[in-house]
C-alpha cells in the first residue's frame, strides 16, 4: 500500500536533535493508542525517548468536556533523553477542550495541529468556551495548522463498509499518519500492529491502515507544512537489545525476576487501587510462572495474606498506593516483628486522603520510613524511571530475602505510566539471592541469629522444627513471648541494626558532574530525568553544578558524608513539601541542605529546576 514516491519528498528535510509532541483529544479519541504507536515507531527507528500519558480523572467524563481530555506526550531524540520533555514543540488537539487544556504548555512559537472538524458550536459549548479559540487570539504566536480531520477521514474511507461512527474512530490513525509524514517515520510497524490487533476484523484493519496512509499522504499539502523533519537514531545508547517499556510493566517484570532469582514462588496479595492496579493485572497473567495473585477484600487482607504466604515459604508481595499503605501500617509492623521477607510496592499518587488518584506526587516517603507504631524499621527504596523500576524491584526482593525483612519500594504514577527504551538485561548477570530454608533441627531456635544477625527461615511442613511466631515481643533466641525489659531493648536494637546493616550491600550513588563545587542537585524517585536534564543544562551554561540520584532512602548508603562535604550546598528536589530533605537534615545536620519542592500533581520541568539553580547561584 506504501507509495513508491513519498508525498512531499521534495520539501526540505530538516534535521532536528529532539522533538516533543503532545497528542491531545477526547478520551474516546484514542490518543493513548496514537501515542503508543508513535513511541513504538520512534523506538524502532532508534531514537532515545521518554513518554508520559496524562489520563483524565477516573470516571469517563462526558465526551468533549475538559475533564474528558486525554493526552500523551512523547519526547524523542537522537541524543540521550531523560524526561518526556518539558513543553511540547508540537501540540495535536483533536477538539476545543483538548486545545484549551493544553495550549498553555505549548512552547512559544510551537506548532499547533488542530482538527477543525470538531470546532463546531456544539463542541465549543461542551468545552465551556464562549468563543472559538482559533479565532479569539488564543493561538496567536503559534504555528497553527488547521485541518478538518473528520472530513478527510470521511472522504478517505468513503467506500468503507464501516458505519459513519466507526469511520470517525479512524481519525487518530489519520492524525498519526500525518505526524509520521512530518517526522519522516515509517508506516510499517503500525501497519503490522493494526494487522495483528484487529486480526479478527479485517474491515477495521483496512480502514485504519487506509486512514494512516491518507494522513501520511496529506502531508503533501504544501501550504500546510513548510517542511519535514527528521530525528536521527540516537547513537549514544549503549549497545544492546532494546524495547520500549512502561514503568509498571518493568516493575512487574522485576518482581517476577526477583522471585526467580530467589528461587521462591511469588505470592501477590493485592487490592485494586490507581495507579497500582496494573501490577495486579500484569502478574495475574503469569500463572504459568507459578505466580499466585490473590485479589483480597481490602489492603489489610492483601498484606496479611502475603505475609502468611511468606511464612509458608513464598515471596510475599503486596502492591498498592498511598491510602493502601496507610491501611497496611499495622500489618507491616507485624512483618517487622516476625522477621519475614515481604515486598510492599507503593505506586504513589497525590494526597492527602483520596487526593488526586491520577496525579503524581512523592509524598509517601515519611509514611514509608516512619508510619508505624513502635520502633518498626523497614528498608525503603525508590525507582527513578520506568526501566529502573525493573532493577529496583529486583533489589527490593533481594533485600527482603537476604535480610528477612519487609521492604518498601516506592514508585509513582509518572514512572508507572511513562515509558522509555529499555536495554534488555542479560538474565545470566542478574544478581542471585537464593533463599535458604533451614531444615536442620539440630540446635535450632526460631529467633537464633546467624553472623549477619538474621534469623533462620523455617517453613511449616519442615519436620521437627515446629515453632510459633507472632507480634508480641519475643525472647531473643527462643522466640517465646517475653516482657523482659532488657530483652525488649536487645530485640529493638537488633531489628534496628538489621535494617541498618543493609548499608553493607548497597552502593554509594554515582555523581554526575564535578566532584566538588557549588551545588549538588539531589533527588530520588521519578524526578531523575528532570534533575539530570536540569543539571546538564546548568553545566552546559558553565555553572558549578553536580547531581546525584538516590535509590536507597532508608537506610542511607555509605559515603554520603564525603559527597555532601564537597559542595557548598545540596539542593534536594522533590515533589512534596521536603520530606527527604527532612530526613537528610536530621541525618547530616552539618551540611547545607536546601529544599526545592513542587506539589502540583505534575513532574518537575527541567527548565524550572535550571532556573532555580541559576537564581541560587546568582544570590
Amino acid at each position: 500500500m506504501t507509495k513508491t514516491k513519498e508525498p512531499g519528498a521534495e520539501l526540505p528535510l530538516q534535521q532536528q536533535e529532539e522533538v516533543t509532541i503532545r497528542f491531545a483529544g477526547d478520551s474516546g479519541d484514542g490518543m493513548q493508542v496514537t501515542g503508543n504507536q508513535f513511541t513504538n515507531t520512534s523506538a524502532v527507528v532508534g531514537n532515545d525517548l521518554a513518554t508520559l500519558p496524562d489520563f483524565p480523572a477516573e470516571i469517563r467524563a462526558p465526551a468533549g468536556t475538559r475533564p474528558g481530555v486525554s493526552g500523551f506526550q512523547i519526547h524523542f531524540s537522537s541524543a540521550d533523553v531523560h524526561t518526556p520533555g518539558d513543553a511540547p514543540d508540537v501540540l495535536v488537539a483533536m477538539n476545543p477542550a483538548a486545545l484549551v487544556v493544553n495550549i498553555g504548555e505549548l512552547k512559544p512559537g510551537g506548532m499547533l495541529v488542530v482538527n477543525t472538524g470538531s470546532f463546531g458550536p456544539n463542541d465549543l459549548r461542551k468545552a465551556r468556551l464562549e468563543k472559538n479559540p482559533l479565532e479569539d487570539g488564543s493561538v496567536d504566536g503559534y504555528r497553527v495548522i488547521e485541518i478538518n480531520i473528520n472530513e478527510r477521514v470521511r472522504l478517505a474511507l468513503a467506500d468503507s463498509p464501516l458505519s459513519t461512527k466507526e469511520v470517525q474512530r479512524c481519525k487518530n490513525f489519520y492524525t498519526l499518519g500525518l505526524m509520521y509524514w512530518l517526522y519522516s517515520r515509517p508506516l510499517k510497524p503500525t501497519m503490522n500492529w493494526l494487522q495483528e490487533k484487529f486480526a479478527k476484523r479485517p474491515e477495521l484493519v483496512e480502514a485504519n491502515q487506509k486512514a494512516l496512509q491518507a494522513g501520511f499522504n496529506a502531508g503533501d499539502i504544501h501550504e500546510m507544512f513548510q517542511g519535514r523533519y527528521d530525528v536521527q537514531a540516537c547513537d549514544n545508547l549503549p549497545a544492546g537489545t532494546y524495547r520500549n517499556i512502561m514503568g509498571n510493566q518493568a516493575l512487574g517484570l522485576g518482581l517476577l525476576a526477583g522471585a526467580e532469582q530467589s528461587g521462591l514462588k511469588l505470592f501477590l496479595g493485592a487490592y485494586p487501587i490507581t495507579p497500582a492496579s496494573d501490577l495486579l493485572h500484569q502478574l495475574a497473567l503469569y500463572k504459568n510462572f507459578g505466580v499466585i495473585t490473590f485479589q483480597a477484600e481490602d489492603e489489610i487482607a492483601a498484606i496479611c495474606a502475603a505475609l502468611g504466604a511468606s511464612f509458608a515459604g513464598c515471596l510475599g508481595l503486596t502492591t498498592t498506593s498511598g491510602p493502601g499503605v496507610a491501611l497496611k501500617a499495622e500489618a507491616m509492623g507485624l512483618a517487622v516483628s516476625v522477621e519475614l521477607p515481604l515486598v510492599i510496592v507503593d505506586v504513589q499518587r497525590a494526597g492527602p486522603s483520596t487526593g488526586m488518584p491520577t496525579k503524581v506526587e512523592q509524598t509517601d516517603l515519611l509514611q514509608s520510613i516512619f508510619g508505624r507504631n513502635g520502633e518498626a524499621p523497614i528498608p525503603v527504596l525508590a525507582a527513578s524511571a520506568p526501566t529502573d523500576a525493573f532493577d529496583c524491584a529486583l533489589e527490593a526482593c533481594r533485600i527482603a530475602v537476604e535480610y528477612m525483612t519487609p521492604v518498601i519500594l516506592l514508585s509513582d504514577n509518572y514512572i508507572a505510566n511513562g515509558s522509555e527504551p529499555w536495554k534488555l538485561p542479560d538474565l545470566q548477570k542478574l544478581p542471585e539471592f537464593k533463599a535458604k530454608f533451614r531444615t536442620n533441627p539440630e540446635g535450632y531456635l526460631p529467633f537464633m541469629r546467624d553472623d549477619r544477625g538474621m534469623r533462620p527461615w523455617v517453613v511449616p511442613g519442615t519436620p521437627g522444627m515446629q515453632h510459633r511466631i507472632g507480634g508480641l515481643e519475643k525472647e531473643d533466641g527462643t522466640g517465646n513471648v517475653s516482657y523482659d525489659a532488657e530483652n525488649h531493648s536487645l530485640m529493638t536494637h537488633r531489628r534496628h541494626d538489621r535494617v541498618q546493616s543493609v548499608r553493607e550491600t548497597i552502593d554509594t550513588p554515582e555523581i554526575f558532574g564535578p566532584d566538588k563545587g557549588e551545588v549538588l542537585m539531589l533527588g530520588w524517585g521519578g524526578t531523575r530525568g528532570s534533575i539530570q536534564s536540569a543539571a546538564d543544562r546548568c553545566r552546559a551554561a558553565g555553572m558549578s553544578v553536580a547531581n546525584m540520584h538516590m535509590r536507597h532512602l532508608w537506610p542511607l548508603p555509605k559515603g554520603l558524608d564525603e559527597i555532601f562535604s564537597s559542595y557548598k550546598c545540596v539542593l534536594v528536589c522533590e515533589l512534596n513539601l521536603g520530606q527527604f530533605f527532612r530526613v537528610l537534615r536530621s541525618e547530616f545536620p552539618q551540611y547545607n541542605f536546601l529544599s526545592y519542592t513542587k506539589v502540583e500533581g505534575k513532574p518537575f520541568q527541567s527548565v524550572e529546576l535550571t532556573r532555580h539553580v541559576q537564581e541560587l547561584l546568582e544570590q
Partner: protein, 332 residues
C-alpha cells in the same frame, strides 16, 4: 498427613505454660483439640494454627505445631495466604467473638465465601476477655460491661446466621461443656473440604461467667440443647423423647417419633437459618451440631487448577521470552 500416626494428645502440647484463668473454658477446648489431632493422625509439622489477638488467640502457643499469632482480626487473611501458598498444610484458625466478628468480621465472611479449606474455631464467650471485659458483637443486648455501664444497646450477631448468610459450606456449633460432642464436630470438620466455621460456646469465668449455663449447663443441657446431626432425627430431652418438626415456616416441639430428619445439605441455607434463629431465650432448645454442610469447589484447588491449565496452554513461563518480546531493536 499420616507420617507419625502414633502421636498422642500430649504430643501436641507445646512447652509453653498455658496462661488462661483457672476455670476458663479455653482449657477444655485445648485438650479436646489436642486429642482430635492425635486421633486424626495428622503430623505436627504439616499443621498450622493461626490466630488473631484475644485470650483465645493465645491458643497456637500451646500447640506443638507451626503457629502464627497474628494481629487482631486478621487471622483469616493470614491463614488464607498460608493455605494457598501451601495447600498440603492443615490450617486451623482459633479466634474469639471480638477477633472474628468485630474487627475481623470482613475477613471471616470473605474466607467463608471463598471456601478455602481452613477450619475456624470461634471461641464465643460473648465478651472481650483479653482487654478485660467489654461487650462484644455477640453480647446480649443489655449486658453491663465496663464499656456499657448502663447496659449495651447493640443487637447482637448470631454467628451461625452470619456465616450462613456469607455462604459458608460448613457451619456448626458446639459447647465447651460437652467434649464428646466437640470431638465429633471437629472430626467432621476435619473431613470436610472447604472452610468450616465452628462456633464454640466458651465460658469466660472472669467477665461473663455462666452466660451459657441456661442451655449448656450439665443439669439442663439435655433439655435445652438439641443436636443437629445430618441424616438423623432432630430429637432431644433427657430421655430422648422430644423432637422438633416443621410447621409451615415455623419450628415446633413434637414427640421424638414425629421429629424431622435433619438435612444440612439442602440447596438453600434457609432450613439452617430457621434453626440458627432459635434464641437461647426461646422455649425451644438451642441447636448445636451441624447446621450446614455442602460441597462447593475449594478455593486453593481452583487456584492450582487454573495455574496448571494456563501452564499447559502456554507452556511453563520463561522469563527470558517474557522480557525479550514485542518490538525490539538493536543498538550496536
Amino acid at each position: 498427613m499420616t507420617t507419625d500416626a502414633k502421636l498422642k494428645a500430649k504430643d501436641f502440647k507445646s512447652d509453653q505454660d498455658v496462661r488462661w484463668c483457672p476455670g476458663c473454658g479455653d482449657y477444655a477446648i485445648l485438650s479436646c483439640v489436642q486429642g482430635v489431632m492425635a486421633e486424626l493422625g495428622v503430623s505436627k509439622e504439616n499443621t498450622v494454627f493461626v490466630s488473631g489477638i484475644g485470650c483465645s488467640s493465645r491458643f497456637p502457643y500451646y500447640m506443638d505445631t507451626y503457629g502464627f499469632h497474628s494481629i487482631h482480626g486478621r487471622a483469616p487473611a493470614v491463614a488464607t495466604g498460608i493455605k494457598v501458598a501451601n495447600p498440603d498444610l492443615s490450617v486451623w484458625i482459633v479466634t474469639g467473638d471480638g477477633d472474628a466478628l468485630s474487627i475481623g468480621g470482613n475477613h471471616l465472611i470473605h474466607l467463608l465465601r471463598r471456601n478455602v479449606n481452613i477450619k475456624v474455631l470461634l471461641f464465643n464467650n460473648e465478651i472481650y476477655g483479653l482487654t478485660k471485659g467489654q461487650y462484644s458483637p455477640t453480647s446480649r443486648q443489655g449486658l453491663r460491661t465496663k464499656a456499657t455501664p448502663f447496659g449495651s444497646i447493640d443487637h447482637s450477631f448470631n454467628p451461625i446466621s452470619l456465616s450462613l448468610g456469607a455462604g459458608a459450606s460448613f457451619v456448626a456449633r458446639t459447647v465447651d461443656t460437652n467434649l464428646k460432642h466437640m470431638r465429633e464436630i471437629l472430626l467432621q470438620a476435619a473431613a470436610h473440604k472447604g472452610t468450616c466455621f465452628i462456633e464454640i460456646f466458651q465460658n469466660c469465668v472472669i467477665f461473663n461467667d455462666k452466660v451459657f449455663d441456661e442451655v449448656a449447663d450439665k443439669q439442663v443441657r439435655n433439655d435445652r440443647l438439641v443436636t443437629l446431626a445430618p441424616g438423623e432425627k432432630v430429637v432431644y430431652g433427657s430421655d430422648g423423647d422430644k423432637g422438633l418438626r416443621l410447621n409451615g415456616f415455623d419450628l415446633e416441639q413434637c414427640s421424638a417419633d414425629e421429629a424431622m430428619v435433619w438435612d444440612a445439605s439442602t440447596a438453600s441455607a434457609a432450613p439452617a437459618m430457621l434453626f440458627a434463629d432459635i434464641d437461647r431465650a426461646s422455649d425451644l432448645p438451642t441447636p448445636i451440631g451441624i447446621f450446614r454442610k455442602v460441597e462447593r469447589s475449594v478455593f486453593e484447588n481452583d487456584v492450582y487448577r487454573q495455574m496448571d491449565q494456563v501452564t499447559s496452554n502456554k507452556g511453563p513461563g520463561d522469563l527470558k521470552s517474557l522480557i525479550y518480546t514485542g518490538d525490539m531493536w538493536n543498538v550496536d
